[in-house]
């Protein structure tokens, strides 16, 4: 029974192996489509498994992994992002021979994420994060022949390793302060004693914030993000921008909103400051970007700042807001990247903002999706991005973190400068090249998943009620170990 609870990560990890093997098949058709199909099917099975496990609270793997509402919700987020990433990569021009590795790496990373979401101890958190990081280093550099891809992989590796070291060092100190790696036990020991004046704990908290902040690409630990996002293959960027960010936040929640909740005062302001700095730096730096991927990278930095507001609140409302906003954020970011991916296939410089001039009028559907994504990211109601921000501000206000809410609001104003620039270029700009290289089939998986993201942006808002109930249950599960 307990092992059954660990089924999702196990299934996904197995799927990764199967996909890898499928990529080695002699038949070209299998080599081309097999890995993707296997990976998607395998992950969907894991998703179904997770859904079936909804409502259960099971501890498995000797306390290292657990199934609760939170982990199930995140499993679905991760799998959703991974599946859409894979769908967006279909027909990618790069070699068929790498299909197996590509699908396997994405799936492996997903397995690592799932482990973090269900982590019951510090080891599992670190392990999961490293599994996905290592997979992502490779994914970034997957287009080895492209200098930029390589650069982004190596940069990510080096800076990422430093970040991981910070995280690890922080985890080590957390273990050292409490004498346990088990999250539940850490929580219990922190509740019992007064740790207000414990320098080791301060070091632990600081280093964990840095390490996770790095993974979440929060400022000032964000500087790798634009470079890596720009250099990596765009579907990988989309995956990183959504799933990886979600991992960082589930780790944040698992650690801070879980065992460290009783010493909230030691980390609340610090996380708040990181959030504020991220919002300001991300939004301001994005203003002058002309590369859409880079712009979205900075936007993701700012969005990390918004999500951190919810973490800083350190309440169920905060966690709930983070969860909802992550869902919304994933939908809007994937939608934006999906359109960029499509544009990249149509023209050479598809990631340049300039190539989107007049795009909305030429392709109202894709332009519409992009517009929806941008408006939602900017927080226009009634899109899901707005509801997320509204909840985050509410969580901050509940904790009287007024300054955070105000900075968030001002940051949103700044963000209009670049989000609306995209919209403006698409709809108000002079029409670009009249004859794109090739038209994607409407029924292609790429188009369908793009549409799905667009629908999600609206749907998450329309069905905010039930969705929030789910998020709330997930958030509640943080507090009851």
């Amino acid at each position: 029974m307990n092992t059954l609870a660990a089924a999702p990560p196990i299934i996904v990890a197995t799927t990764a192996l199967l996909a890898l093997m499928a990529g080695l098949f002699p038949q070209r058709l299998v080599r081309r489509e097999g890995p993707t199909v296997i990976a998607i099917v395998g992950m969907l099975v894991a998703a179904v498994m997770s859904i079936l496990l909804w409502g259960n609270r099971i501890v498995a793997l000797g306390g290292g992994y657990r199934i609760d509402h939170l982990s199930v919700l995140f499993n679905l987020i991760f799998i959703g992002c991974a599946v859409i990433t894979l769908l967006l990569s279909v027909n990618e021009s790069s070699g068929v021979d790498r299909r197996g590795e590509y699908a396997a790496l994405v799936t492996t990373a997903t397995a690592g994420m799932i482990l973090v979401a269900g982590a019951g101890d510090l080891i599992m958190i670190f392990l999961g994060i490293e599994i996905l990081s290592v997979a992502l280093y490779v994914l970034c550099a997957l287009e080895l022949w492209r200098e930029r891809s390589l650069e982004s992989g190596l940069k990510y590796l080096i800076v990422g390793a430093v970040g991981s070291s910070f995280l690890l060092y922080g985890l080590a100190f957390l273990f050292g302060t409490t004498g346990s790696v088990n999250l539940t036990k850490i929580g219990a020991s922190l509740t019992q004693a007064s740790f207000n004046t414990e320098p080791l704990l301060w070091i632990a908290v600081t280093l964990i914030i840095v390490g996770l902040g790095f993974k979440a690409s929060a400022a000032p630990f964000h500087m790798w993000t634009p470079d890596v996002y720009e250099g990596a293959p765009t579907p990988v960027t989309a995956f990183m921008a959504t799933a990886t960010k979600a991992v960082a936040f589930v780790a944040f929640l698992r650690i801070f909103a879980g065992p460290l909740i009783d010493i909230v005062h030691t980390w609340q302001i610090a996380i708040g400051v990181v959030a504020a700095v991220s919002i300001i730096i991300g939004n301001v730096a994005a203003l002058v970007q002309t590369n859409l991927k880079r712009m979205l990278a900075y936007s993701s930095i700012a969005q990390a700042g918004y999500l951190l507001i919810g973490v800083a609140a350190g309440t169920v409302q905060g966690a709930q807001a983070v969860l909802f906003y992550l869902l919304a954020y994933a939908a809007m970011t994937l939608a934006a990247f999906a359109v960029v991916i499509i544009r990249e296939r149509e023209v050479d410089n598809g990631e340049d903002l300039a190539s989107f001039s007049g795009y909305g009028r030429a392709r109202p559907f894709l332009g519409g999706i992009m517009t929806l994504a941008m408006l939602s990211l900017a927080g226009f109601p009634p899109l899901s991005g707005f509801i997320g921000k509204f909840l985050l501000f509410g969580a901050a206000a509940e904790q009287h973190l007024w300054w955070l809410a105000v900075i968030g609001a001002l940051g949103s104003v700044i963000s209009l400068g670049y989000y609306l620039r995209v919209v403006g270029v698409m709809w108000f700009g002079a029409a670009g090249d009249p004859e794109p290289r090739k038209l994607l089939n409407v029924s292609s998986p790429v188009t369908l998943s793009t549409a799905a993201c667009g629908v999600a942006i609206l749907g998450f808002a329309a069905f905010a009620g039930p969705l929030l109930t789910v998020c709330q249950q997930a958030a509640m599960s943080l507090l009851s170990p």
Binding site: K155, M223, T266, I269
Partner: protein
């Protein structure tokens, strides 16, 4: 009930006429325009006489009736009804408006016969009559203000009737704007009244005024001063008088009806209507009288040098209203109304006669190009002479009785009254001088050089009959109210003017004043005859004496220049300055600065992000230090 219904009909007729004429699809037949234009006003006059006799048949204390059509609005306890008040005062005004009005509109049918926009003229005339009737019939201050503004609008439209002429357009705008200033004063007065009394109804305000406002209280003074701002603007009293001479750009019948007989006297009407309030505000009343006295002198002095026949009459109007204001300010309300009535007769006569001349000379208005018209236009000459004698206060013409009554009663009304009476007597001399200057230059002396081409033609009956009727009225009208005889006007108005001050001049004073004013007028006429009666030679000989004064007079005491340089140009400059500096620098500046700040930050971050791994690692470490510091500090 009957009389209010009739009042509503009288009010509605010209409105219906105006609407009918302006909304008539296509170009209506000229006869139709004529019939509607004259018919509505004339019918109004007939109905008004019925009202008049109905009121006359009642006992004086029952000579009033109000009727509301509907509750216009009720906001926070302030009820405003669309209501009329029929009382002796309003009926008297109605009689003037519809009576003189129908004569003038009739006259216009011929005067405007050549005009392209026939129906527009009658539509606007009808609209004016409606507005003026609304003004006098309103039973509360609100609809008084509405009528007040509507006559301003009608005046604007008719001054700017020849809208292709830039000078007419400018004059119209000037008249409108100055009248809006007056409206503003009136509206503020209404606010103060509403605040003080909680009502704008005449009946309620006047009934409770003595108890709610102490005599001479600040509120009473303020109300009356603010009301008088409106009166001054409408009745062209200093310093808001500058629009009236320019208003002569309108067709002559318009000048006769609006800018002589009716609209410009609305200010007098209002002061008389609010006699209860003015009675409680001695300082404001004094101010009214002083303004009247100053205006009558200033306007008369300017009239002396005018070369345009209509502008002479315009300034004389300003001056004559000054007399009425003197009377009203001194509390001599019925005297003011009597003079108003007489003025309506003789000034309408003068304007219409001037119109006959202008018509005969195909639009010529300058006195310089007239002369010796007596032989060519006998009828007009006699009519004009009657008008001049009347306005100069020569007995037994109408002006003598009304002006004389004002002056003699003023003599008895305290020191200010004496001062005003003296001013009035000086004014009377000036009036006689400039009127006969006009008369002699137009009709006397030899014909102008080169004669008249085409030959001046006598007008038709439609113009002649109104002139004739008015000439008769200007001649005998004064006998309505003669000293020690029947005081018909005063008696009639008595119910509407409860606070009639019991100033009664002694017989000696009365005789002396009359003698003084008549004799100075006669001397002035003599001088005018000597100077102007014989042709241009003598006039030109003396043209350069007192050049400085003459210049000031020609510049109309520099009021326009002062306004232009003190109020209008600074306003323009301020607006331009706002557009030049405040708009881009202040309102745009904040935004631009914020945007610039953000962009500078963005460029700074752009530079920092130099692509070096070590920078990134360093930022990580620095960030760790900051977070650590915050953790330690915030603990």
């Amino acid at each position: 009930m009957l009389i209010t219904t009739l009042a509503w009909i009288v009010l509605g007729l010209p409105l219906a006429g105006a609407l009918l004429l302006s909304l008539w699809p296509g170009e209506p037949d000229r006869n139709l325009s004529r019939v509607i234009g004259v018919g509505t006003v004339a019918l109004g006059f007939v109905l008004t006489t019925i009202v008049f006799f109905d009121l006359l048949s009642r006992t004086p204390s029952h000579r009033h009736a109000t009727n509301a059509l509907w509750q216009w609005i009720n906001v926070d306890g302030l009820h405003i009804d669309l209501a009329v008040l029929v009382d002796p005062l309003s009926v008297m005004m109605m009689l003037i408006i519809t009576g003189v009005g129908s004569l003038i509109v009739w006259y216009s049918t011929e005067y405007m016969a050549e005009d392209r926009d026939y129906r527009r003229f009658f539509a606007e005339m009808n609209f004016f009559v409606f507005s003026m009737l609304l003004l006098v019939l309103a039973a509360n201050f609100f609809f008084l203000i509405v009528g007040w503004a509507f006559v301003g609008l009608a005046s604007y439209l008719l001054i700017g009737y020849y809208y292709e002429k830039p000078s007419a357009v400018a004059a119209a705008k000037k008249a409108f704007v100055i009248n809006v200033i007056g409206d503003a004063g009136l509206v503020l007065a209404a606010f103060l009244i509403a605040k003080t009394f909680g009502s704008l109804d005449y009946a309620q305000v006047f009934a409770t005024a003595p108890t709610r406002l102490g005599g001479g209280s600040f509120t009473a003074e303020m109300i009356c001063l603010l009301l008088f701002v409106g009166c001054a603007a409408k009745s062209a009293q200093i310093p808001l008088h500058t629009w009236l001479p320019d208003a002569m750009e309108g067709p002559t019948p318009v000048s006769a009806l609006i800018h002589a007989a009716t609209m410009v006297t609305a200010g007098v009407y209002l002061v008389v209507r609010c006699n209860v309030l003015f009675h409680l505000a001695p300082y404001a009343s004094d101010y009214v009288a002083i303004t009247g006295a100053v205006t009558l002198l200033v306007a008369a002095s300017i009239a002396i040098v005018q070369e345009d026949i209509k502008r002479v009459l315009a300034w004389s109007t300003v001056s004559q209203i000054g007399y009425m204001m003197v009377a009203a300010g001194l509390g001599l309300y019925s005297q003011a109304m009597f003079h108003l009535l007489m003025h309506a007769f003789f000034k309408a006569l003068l304007f219409l006669t001037a119109g006959v001349v202008i018509h005969a000379l195909s639009g010529e208005q300058s006195l310089n190009r007239m002369g010796g018209l007596h032989r060519l236009l006998k009828f007009a000459s006699f009519a004009m002479l009657i008008g001049c004698l009347a306005i100069s206060g020569i007995p037994p013409f109408s002006g003598f009785f009304s002006k004389d009554e004002i002056l003699s009663t003023a003599m008895a009304a305290g020191p200010l009254g004496v001062v005003c009476a003296v001013a009035g007597i000086i004014g009377a001399a000036m009036t006689a001088f400039y009127m006969f200057r006009m008369y002699f230059r137009a009709f006397g002396g030899p014909q102008r050089e080169g004669g008249y081409h085409p030959h001046p033609h006598m007008s038709g009956l439609a113009m002649a009959i109104p002139v004739g009727v008015l000439a008769v009225l200007a001649t005998i009208g004064g006998f309505l109210q003669v000293p020690w005889g029947r005081q018909l006007v005063t008696d009639w108005l008595a119910p509407a003017i409860p606070d009639q001050s019991s100033v009664e001049a002694s017989a000696t004073v009365e005789w002396l004043t009359s003698l003084a004013s008549v004799s100075v007028a006669a001397v002035a006429i003599g001088i005018a005859w000597w100077l102007f009666g014989a042709g241009p030679e003598r006039r030109l000989k003396y043209a350069h004496t007192l050049a400085g004064l003459r210049h000031v007079l020609l510049e109309q005491w520099l009021f326009d220049d002062a306004y232009e340089s003190v109020i209008i140009q600074p306003g323009r400059d301020l607006g331009d300055a706002a557009i030049r500096t405040a708009e881009p620098d202040l309102t745009q500046g904040i935004v631009t600065a914020a945007a610039g700040f953000s962009m500078a930050g963005a460029r700074g971050l752009h530079r920092v992000q130099g692509g070096l791994v070590r920078t990134y690692a360093f930022a990580l470490i620095a960030g760790a230090a900051i977070v650590g510091l915050v953790v330690v500090l915030a603990r």
